[in-house]
Protein backbone atom coordinates (compact mmCIF):
# COMPACT_ATOMS: atom_id res chain seq x y z
CA UNK A 1 0.00 0.00 0.00
CA UNK A 2 1.02 3.60 -0.46
CA UNK A 3 1.01 6.18 2.30
CA UNK A 4 2.16 9.77 2.43
CA UNK A 5 5.02 9.74 4.92
CA UNK A 6 6.71 13.02 5.85
CA UNK A 7 5.46 14.55 2.64
CA UNK A 8 6.68 11.76 0.35
CA UNK A 9 4.64 8.96 -1.22
CA UNK A 10 6.10 5.70 0.01
CA UNK A 11 5.25 2.09 -0.70
CA UNK A 12 5.08 0.01 2.50
CA UNK A 13 4.56 -3.76 2.87
CA UNK A 14 0.94 -4.95 3.07
CA UNK A 15 1.56 -6.67 6.42
CA UNK A 16 1.83 -3.29 8.15
CA UNK A 17 -1.56 -2.97 9.81
CA UNK A 18 -1.15 -0.38 12.54
CA UNK A 19 1.08 2.41 13.85
CA UNK A 20 3.06 -0.05 15.97
CA UNK A 21 3.91 -2.14 12.87
CA UNK A 22 4.96 1.02 11.04
CA UNK A 23 7.35 2.00 13.84
CA UNK A 24 8.88 -1.48 13.84
CA UNK A 25 9.23 -1.37 10.06
CA UNK A 26 11.37 1.75 10.42
CA UNK A 27 13.17 0.33 13.50
CA UNK A 28 12.00 3.22 15.66
CA UNK A 29 10.16 1.19 18.33
CA UNK A 30 12.80 1.90 20.99
CA UNK A 31 13.14 5.59 20.23
CA UNK A 32 11.25 8.68 21.28
CA UNK A 33 8.88 9.30 18.41
CA UNK A 34 5.93 11.60 17.84
CA UNK A 35 3.50 10.45 15.16
CA UNK A 36 0.70 12.34 13.51
CA UNK A 37 -1.80 10.18 11.64
CA UNK A 38 -4.14 12.08 9.31
CA UNK A 39 -3.48 15.34 11.16
CA UNK A 40 -4.01 13.95 14.65
CA UNK A 41 -1.26 13.03 17.11
CA UNK A 42 -1.31 9.29 17.77
CA UNK A 43 -1.66 8.29 21.43
CA UNK A 44 1.44 6.27 22.43
CA UNK A 45 -0.60 3.77 24.43
CA UNK A 46 -2.81 2.98 21.42
CA UNK A 47 -0.28 2.37 18.63
CA UNK A 48 -1.42 -1.22 18.11
CA UNK A 49 -5.06 -0.12 17.83
CA UNK A 50 -4.51 2.63 15.29
CA UNK A 51 -4.87 1.12 11.81
CA UNK A 52 -2.77 2.25 8.86
CA UNK A 53 -4.57 2.24 5.53
CA UNK A 54 -3.78 3.00 1.93
CA UNK A 55 -3.59 6.76 1.34
CA UNK A 56 -3.03 7.69 4.99
CA UNK A 57 -1.04 10.80 5.73
CA UNK A 58 1.62 10.19 8.35
CA UNK A 59 4.13 12.60 9.89
CA UNK A 60 6.75 10.80 11.96
CA UNK A 61 9.43 12.62 13.95
CA UNK A 62 11.99 10.76 16.04
CA UNK A 63 14.20 12.49 18.57
CA UNK A 64 17.97 12.45 18.30
CA UNK A 65 20.50 13.69 20.81
CA UNK A 66 23.43 14.95 18.76
CA UNK A 67 24.54 18.46 18.10
Amino acid sequence: MTIQLNGLHVEIPENIRNVDDLLKHYQLENRIVIIELNNEIADKSKYTELPIADGDKVEMIHFVGGG
Binding site: I32, E36, I41, I61, G66, G67
Partner: protein, 338 residues
Protein backbone atom coordinates in the same frame (compact mmCIF):
# COMPACT_ATOMS: atom_id res chain seq x y z
CA UNK B 1 30.93 51.37 9.96
CA UNK B 2 27.99 50.72 12.22
CA UNK B 3 25.55 52.53 9.99
CA UNK B 4 26.06 50.22 7.01
CA UNK B 5 27.08 47.03 8.74
CA UNK B 6 23.49 45.81 9.29
CA UNK B 7 21.89 47.62 6.35
CA UNK B 8 20.78 44.46 4.53
CA UNK B 9 19.13 43.14 7.66
CA UNK B 10 17.44 46.50 8.35
CA UNK B 11 16.07 46.50 4.80
CA UNK B 12 14.26 43.26 5.59
CA UNK B 13 10.84 44.60 6.68
CA UNK B 14 10.04 42.19 9.57
CA UNK B 15 13.28 43.33 11.27
CA UNK B 16 13.86 46.90 10.07
CA UNK B 17 15.76 49.55 12.03
CA UNK B 18 13.58 49.00 15.09
CA UNK B 19 14.30 45.27 15.10
CA UNK B 20 18.01 45.90 14.69
CA UNK B 21 17.93 48.14 17.76
CA UNK B 22 16.25 45.32 19.69
CA UNK B 23 18.95 42.88 18.58
CA UNK B 24 21.62 45.30 19.77
CA UNK B 25 20.12 45.19 23.26
CA UNK B 26 19.56 41.43 23.25
CA UNK B 27 21.33 38.77 25.30
CA UNK B 28 21.57 35.20 24.01
CA UNK B 29 22.88 32.12 25.80
CA UNK B 30 24.16 29.22 23.70
CA UNK B 31 24.49 25.89 25.50
CA UNK B 32 27.29 24.01 23.75
CA UNK B 33 30.02 25.15 21.38
CA UNK B 34 30.10 22.16 19.05
CA UNK B 35 28.65 22.03 15.55
CA UNK B 36 25.28 23.65 16.29
CA UNK B 37 26.73 26.15 18.75
CA UNK B 38 29.49 27.47 16.50
CA UNK B 39 27.13 27.84 13.56
CA UNK B 40 24.39 29.64 15.54
CA UNK B 41 26.91 31.84 17.30
CA UNK B 42 28.52 33.03 14.08
CA UNK B 43 25.13 33.95 12.58
CA UNK B 44 23.98 35.80 15.71
CA UNK B 45 27.28 37.65 16.10
CA UNK B 46 27.16 38.76 12.47
CA UNK B 47 23.53 39.78 12.96
CA UNK B 48 24.59 42.17 15.72
CA UNK B 49 23.05 40.60 18.82
CA UNK B 50 24.36 42.66 21.73
CA UNK B 51 25.69 39.96 23.98
CA UNK B 52 26.39 36.26 23.42
CA UNK B 53 27.38 33.79 26.10
CA UNK B 54 28.61 30.31 25.11
CA UNK B 55 29.13 27.48 27.57
CA UNK B 56 31.01 24.27 26.75
CA UNK B 57 32.99 21.67 28.71
CA UNK B 58 35.09 20.24 25.87
CA UNK B 59 38.29 21.16 24.00
CA UNK B 60 38.90 21.30 20.24
CA UNK B 61 39.85 18.04 18.49
CA UNK B 62 40.73 17.12 14.90
CA UNK B 63 37.39 15.38 14.35
CA UNK B 64 35.60 18.69 15.09
CA UNK B 65 37.10 20.65 12.19
CA UNK B 66 34.92 19.03 9.51
CA UNK B 67 31.85 20.92 10.77
CA UNK B 68 32.55 23.13 13.79
CA UNK B 69 33.06 26.28 11.82
CA UNK B 70 34.79 28.58 14.30
CA UNK B 71 37.81 26.34 14.92
CA UNK B 72 41.19 26.01 13.23
CA UNK B 73 44.07 23.54 13.20
CA UNK B 74 45.92 25.84 15.56
CA UNK B 75 43.11 25.48 18.14
CA UNK B 76 43.52 21.69 17.99
CA UNK B 77 47.30 21.90 18.37
CA UNK B 78 46.88 24.24 21.34
CA UNK B 79 44.18 21.96 22.82
CA UNK B 80 42.07 25.07 23.45
CA UNK B 81 38.75 24.74 25.25
CA UNK B 82 35.97 25.27 22.73
CA UNK B 83 34.43 28.15 24.68
CA UNK B 84 37.75 30.01 24.58
CA UNK B 85 38.55 29.31 20.92
CA UNK B 86 35.01 30.32 19.93
CA UNK B 87 35.16 33.53 21.92
CA UNK B 88 38.44 34.52 20.24
CA UNK B 89 37.15 33.88 16.71
CA UNK B 90 33.77 35.57 17.32
CA UNK B 91 35.50 38.75 18.53
CA UNK B 92 37.38 38.87 15.23
CA UNK B 93 34.09 38.55 13.36
CA UNK B 94 32.33 41.37 15.19
CA UNK B 95 34.05 43.55 17.77
CA UNK B 96 30.78 45.35 18.57
CA UNK B 97 29.31 42.26 20.23
CA UNK B 98 30.11 41.37 23.82
CA UNK B 99 31.15 37.73 23.76
CA UNK B 100 31.70 35.56 26.77
CA UNK B 101 32.97 31.97 26.57
CA UNK B 102 32.53 29.90 29.71
CA UNK B 103 34.33 26.58 30.18
CA UNK B 104 31.89 24.56 32.28
CA UNK B 105 29.82 21.42 32.45
CA UNK B 106 26.17 22.57 32.38
CA UNK B 107 24.05 20.89 35.04
CA UNK B 108 21.07 21.48 37.29
CA UNK B 109 23.27 23.19 39.87
CA UNK B 110 24.70 25.96 37.66
CA UNK B 111 22.09 26.44 34.93
CA UNK B 112 19.93 28.94 36.82
CA UNK B 113 22.89 31.27 37.26
CA UNK B 114 23.67 30.95 33.54
CA UNK B 115 20.16 31.74 32.28
CA UNK B 116 19.76 34.79 34.52
CA UNK B 117 19.01 37.95 32.47
CA UNK B 118 19.11 36.11 29.13
CA UNK B 119 16.43 36.79 26.50
CA UNK B 120 16.76 33.57 24.49
CA UNK B 121 18.57 30.25 25.03
CA UNK B 122 19.80 28.25 22.04
CA UNK B 123 20.23 24.52 22.35
CA UNK B 124 23.52 23.22 21.00
CA UNK B 125 24.19 20.40 23.41
CA UNK B 126 24.81 16.77 22.52
CA UNK B 127 22.60 14.89 24.97
CA UNK B 128 19.05 14.70 26.31
CA UNK B 129 19.90 15.07 29.96
CA UNK B 130 21.44 18.53 29.54
CA UNK B 131 18.53 19.56 27.32
CA UNK B 132 16.03 18.66 30.03
CA UNK B 133 18.09 20.55 32.62
CA UNK B 134 18.07 23.65 30.39
CA UNK B 135 14.36 23.17 29.65
CA UNK B 136 13.56 23.21 33.39
CA UNK B 137 15.50 26.43 33.92
CA UNK B 138 14.01 28.03 30.79
CA UNK B 139 10.44 27.31 31.91
CA UNK B 140 11.16 28.39 35.50
CA UNK B 141 12.67 31.71 34.41
CA UNK B 142 10.28 32.14 31.45
CA UNK B 143 12.93 32.33 28.75
CA UNK B 144 12.33 30.93 25.24
CA UNK B 145 14.51 27.87 24.58
CA UNK B 146 15.13 26.96 20.95
CA UNK B 147 15.68 23.21 20.81
CA UNK B 148 17.83 21.78 18.01
CA UNK B 149 19.57 18.44 17.43
CA UNK B 150 21.11 16.44 14.61
CA UNK B 151 22.90 13.23 13.71
CA UNK B 152 23.93 11.81 10.33
CA UNK B 153 21.83 13.74 7.77
CA UNK B 154 18.82 14.13 10.07
CA UNK B 155 17.95 17.06 12.29
CA UNK B 156 15.10 18.59 14.23
CA UNK B 157 14.06 21.80 15.88
CA UNK B 158 11.34 23.17 18.17
CA UNK B 159 10.97 26.65 19.63
CA UNK B 160 9.89 26.18 23.25
CA UNK B 161 8.13 29.32 24.47
CA UNK B 162 7.18 29.15 28.16
CA UNK B 163 3.45 29.56 28.63
CA UNK B 164 2.76 29.33 24.89
CA UNK B 165 3.97 25.88 23.86
CA UNK B 166 4.42 22.50 25.47
CA UNK B 167 7.88 22.21 26.99
CA UNK B 168 10.54 19.70 25.99
CA UNK B 169 9.64 17.56 29.00
CA UNK B 170 6.04 17.29 27.68
CA UNK B 171 7.42 15.94 24.39
CA UNK B 172 10.08 13.65 25.86
CA UNK B 173 8.50 12.02 28.87
CA UNK B 174 11.49 9.86 29.70
CA UNK B 175 15.21 9.76 29.04
CA UNK B 176 15.87 7.48 26.08
CA UNK B 177 17.92 4.43 27.02
CA UNK B 178 20.47 5.26 24.39
CA UNK B 179 20.81 7.20 21.25
CA UNK B 180 22.50 7.59 17.99
CA UNK B 181 25.12 10.27 18.45
CA UNK B 182 27.46 12.08 16.08
CA UNK B 183 30.26 9.91 17.47
CA UNK B 184 28.45 6.67 16.70
CA UNK B 185 26.67 7.26 13.37
CA UNK B 186 28.46 10.39 12.17
CA UNK B 187 27.10 13.70 10.94
CA UNK B 188 27.43 15.85 7.83
CA UNK B 189 27.83 19.59 7.90
CA UNK B 190 24.77 20.55 5.78
CA UNK B 191 22.30 19.21 8.35
CA UNK B 192 24.03 21.24 11.06
CA UNK B 193 23.56 24.36 8.95
CA UNK B 194 19.91 23.54 8.25
CA UNK B 195 19.07 23.04 11.92
CA UNK B 196 20.84 26.23 13.00
CA UNK B 197 19.21 28.15 10.14
CA UNK B 198 15.85 27.32 11.73
CA UNK B 199 17.07 27.91 15.29
CA UNK B 200 18.57 31.30 14.50
CA UNK B 201 15.45 32.32 12.55
CA UNK B 202 13.36 31.47 15.62
CA UNK B 203 15.76 33.44 17.83
CA UNK B 204 15.64 36.49 15.52
CA UNK B 205 11.84 36.34 15.54
CA UNK B 206 11.64 36.13 19.33
CA UNK B 207 14.18 38.92 19.82
CA UNK B 208 12.53 41.31 17.34
CA UNK B 209 9.02 40.62 18.61
CA UNK B 210 7.79 38.69 15.59
CA UNK B 211 5.25 35.89 15.84
CA UNK B 212 6.71 32.40 16.04
CA UNK B 213 5.14 29.17 14.78
CA UNK B 214 5.51 26.62 17.56
CA UNK B 215 5.91 23.47 15.53
CA UNK B 216 8.16 20.47 15.94
CA UNK B 217 10.03 20.05 12.65
CA UNK B 218 12.41 17.43 11.35
CA UNK B 219 14.43 17.14 8.17
CA UNK B 220 16.60 14.59 6.44
CA UNK B 221 18.69 16.62 4.07
CA UNK B 222 20.18 13.56 2.34
CA UNK B 223 16.78 12.00 1.63
CA UNK B 224 15.10 15.37 0.98
CA UNK B 225 12.47 14.56 3.58
CA UNK B 226 10.67 16.94 5.93
CA UNK B 227 8.07 16.51 8.68
CA UNK B 228 6.15 18.99 10.76
CA UNK B 229 3.80 18.40 13.71
CA UNK B 230 1.70 20.83 15.71
CA UNK B 231 2.55 19.47 19.16
CA UNK B 232 0.14 21.65 21.15
CA UNK B 233 -2.02 18.59 22.05
CA UNK B 234 1.02 17.13 23.88
CA UNK B 235 0.99 19.99 26.40
CA UNK B 236 0.70 18.06 29.67
CA UNK B 237 -1.17 19.86 32.44
CA UNK B 238 0.57 17.58 34.95
CA UNK B 239 4.05 18.07 33.45
CA UNK B 240 6.63 18.19 36.29
CA UNK B 241 8.30 21.07 34.46
CA UNK B 242 5.54 23.24 32.96
CA UNK B 243 2.39 21.84 34.60
CA UNK B 244 0.24 23.50 37.24
CA UNK B 245 2.23 22.08 40.15
CA UNK B 246 5.71 21.96 38.67
CA UNK B 247 8.71 20.75 40.64
CA UNK B 248 11.50 21.27 38.02
CA UNK B 249 12.94 17.80 38.68
CA UNK B 250 16.06 18.28 36.55
CA UNK B 251 17.21 21.14 38.77
CA UNK B 252 17.12 18.98 41.90
CA UNK B 253 20.41 17.82 43.35
CA UNK B 254 19.34 14.19 43.73
CA UNK B 255 18.52 13.97 40.02
CA UNK B 256 21.91 15.11 38.72
CA UNK B 257 24.29 12.65 37.13
CA UNK B 258 26.62 11.85 39.99
CA UNK B 259 30.26 11.75 39.17
CA UNK B 260 32.91 10.52 41.53
CA UNK B 261 36.64 10.44 40.97
CA UNK B 262 37.92 7.11 42.21
CA UNK B 263 40.98 8.11 44.15
CA UNK B 264 44.33 6.91 42.92
CA UNK B 265 42.76 4.94 40.08
CA UNK B 266 42.63 7.63 37.40
CA UNK B 267 38.98 6.71 36.97
CA UNK B 268 35.66 8.52 37.07
CA UNK B 269 32.41 6.79 37.97
CA UNK B 270 29.22 8.22 36.49
CA UNK B 271 25.78 7.38 37.79
CA UNK B 272 22.72 8.88 36.06
CA UNK B 273 20.39 10.70 38.46
CA UNK B 274 17.34 9.47 36.58
CA UNK B 275 16.55 5.85 36.14
CA UNK B 276 18.06 4.79 32.88
CA UNK B 277 18.23 1.18 31.76
CA UNK B 278 20.90 0.52 29.19
CA UNK B 279 20.28 -2.29 26.75
CA UNK B 280 23.77 -3.76 26.66
CA UNK B 281 23.05 -5.79 23.50
CA UNK B 282 22.05 -2.69 21.55
CA UNK B 283 24.94 -0.68 22.89
CA UNK B 284 27.26 -3.53 21.91
CA UNK B 285 26.24 -3.36 18.25
CA UNK B 286 27.48 0.20 17.96
CA UNK B 287 30.45 0.07 20.28
CA UNK B 288 31.93 -3.03 18.64
CA UNK B 289 32.75 -0.98 15.56
CA UNK B 290 34.09 2.05 17.39
CA UNK B 291 36.10 0.45 20.14
CA UNK B 292 38.69 -2.24 20.69
CA UNK B 293 39.28 -4.96 23.31
CA UNK B 294 35.54 -5.41 23.47
CA UNK B 295 34.17 -7.69 26.21
CA UNK B 296 30.53 -8.30 27.09
CA UNK B 297 28.87 -10.45 29.73
CA UNK B 298 25.31 -10.39 31.11
CA UNK B 299 26.22 -7.68 33.65
CA UNK B 300 28.51 -5.29 31.88
CA UNK B 301 30.22 -4.25 28.72
CA UNK B 302 33.85 -3.22 28.63
CA UNK B 303 35.84 -1.67 25.80
CA UNK B 304 38.66 0.69 24.89
CA UNK B 305 37.81 4.00 23.20
CA UNK B 306 40.62 6.38 22.26
CA UNK B 307 42.94 6.19 25.29
CA UNK B 308 40.15 5.33 27.73
CA UNK B 309 38.93 2.02 29.10
CA UNK B 310 35.15 2.13 29.51
CA UNK B 311 32.86 -0.12 31.50
CA UNK B 312 29.07 0.20 31.15
CA UNK B 313 26.65 -1.44 33.56
CA UNK B 314 23.00 -2.32 32.91
CA UNK B 315 21.73 0.31 35.35
CA UNK B 316 23.32 3.09 33.31
CA UNK B 317 26.36 3.43 35.54
CA UNK B 318 29.73 3.73 33.87
CA UNK B 319 33.40 3.71 34.79
CA UNK B 320 35.73 5.80 32.65
CA UNK B 321 39.32 4.71 33.24
CA UNK B 322 42.16 6.90 32.04
CA UNK B 323 40.95 10.24 33.33
CA UNK B 324 40.33 11.88 36.66
CA UNK B 325 38.51 14.82 35.10
CA UNK B 326 34.75 14.63 35.58
CA UNK B 327 33.93 16.90 32.64
CA UNK B 328 36.02 14.77 30.29
CA UNK B 329 34.40 11.57 31.56
CA UNK B 330 30.92 13.01 31.07
CA UNK B 331 31.81 14.18 27.58
CA UNK B 332 32.89 10.66 26.59
CA UNK B 333 29.79 9.10 28.16
CA UNK B 334 27.40 11.43 26.33
CA UNK B 335 29.29 11.07 23.07
CA UNK B 336 28.75 7.32 23.03
CA UNK B 337 25.41 6.93 24.81
CA UNK B 338 23.74 10.24 23.91
Amino acid sequence: MSTTRYSRQELFPPIGKAGQEKLKNARVLIIGAGALGTSSAEMLVRAGVGRITMVDRDYVEWSNLQRQQLYTEKDVQDKLPKAIAAEKRLREVNSEVVIEGIVADVNGMNIEELVKNQHVILDATDNFETRLVVNDAAVKHEIPFIFGACVASYGMTFPMIPGKTPCLHCLINHLPSQNQTCDTVGVISPIVQLVTAYQVTSALKVLTGNEIVPRLQSFDIWKSEKAEIDVWPLKNKDCPTCGSSSTFPFLAYENQTKAAVLCGRNTVQLRPGFERTITLDQLAIRLKELTSEFIQNPYLLSCTYEEFRLVFFKDGRALIHGTSEIAQAKAIYHRLIG
